[in-house]
């Protein structure tokens, strides 16, 4: 069974640039999560979906971050105008019950 896949694996940006991250969850998993993992900290939930619906995006900085899951399968997380404080690893996870994580995208904002 294929796991959760994410792309790109790495991204380096200047402040003010935009970036998108893609997540392909495990087939059949209805729930998809995006976490931000700053260096030396645990993952922190940004947003999660059940099928195509956003269930909780209360921790998503809505002025610059957006996330969609239009068909209830793949998902995209976008940062409109990156800041140095966005430097982190962005993890996607999917679940029916237990969460399975992807390898993450490491973002460095200069």
């Amino acid at each position: 069974e294929a796991g959760v896949t994410q792309s790109p694996r790495y991204a380096v940006l200047q402040e003010g640039q935009a970036v998108s991250f893609w997540c392909d969850p495990i087939s059949g998993h209805d729930t998809l999560y995006w976490y931000q993992q700053p260096r030396d900290q645990g993952p922190q939930l940004l947003v999660y979906f059940r099928d195509e619906a956003v269930i909780d995006n209360s921790q998503l900085p809505s002025d610059r971050f957006s996330a969609v899951r239009p068909k209830g399968t793949n998902s995209t997380l976008k940062i409109q105008s990156a800041k140095q404080g966005d430097t982190a690893t962005y993890l996607c996870a999917s679940s029916l019950d237990t969460q399975y994580f992807g390898p993450g995208t490491r973002l460095l904002v200069l």
């Binding site: 796991g3 959760v4 729930t31 999560y33 976490y35 030396d40 900290q41 645990g42 993952p43 922190q44 939930l45 999660y48 269930i55 909780d56 993890l91 679940s95 019950d97 237990t98 969460q99 399975y100 994580f101 992807g102 390898p103 993450g104």
Partner: protein, 113 residues
Amino acid sequence: GDSVTQTEGLVTVTEGLPVMLNCTYQTAYSDVAFFWYVQYLNEAPKLLLRSSTDNKRTEHQGFHATLHKSSSSFHLQKSSVQLSDSALYYCALSKTNTGKLTFGDGTVLTVKP
């Protein structure tokens, strides 16, 4: 809100000796599950253990943990560590109706020969 505390950022143990990684939590909810995830360098976090039953020992891959609601703890233990156990370990909790995980900041376990 919910919180998870892992007091040790780094634990170093000699191969073959026992280890305990501390985890305590705060939550106002009763329908909560507790987890240990392990993350090897440049890999995804992987589930190691899960429990929601008070005072019941849960075991996997030689590791074990017992949820103690009386002390709000879910410490991870192993009786004899191996070099391959060197990794970052996260304790986490989630409300069972949402699945949202709240993580601690993690403990790096280094096993030396």
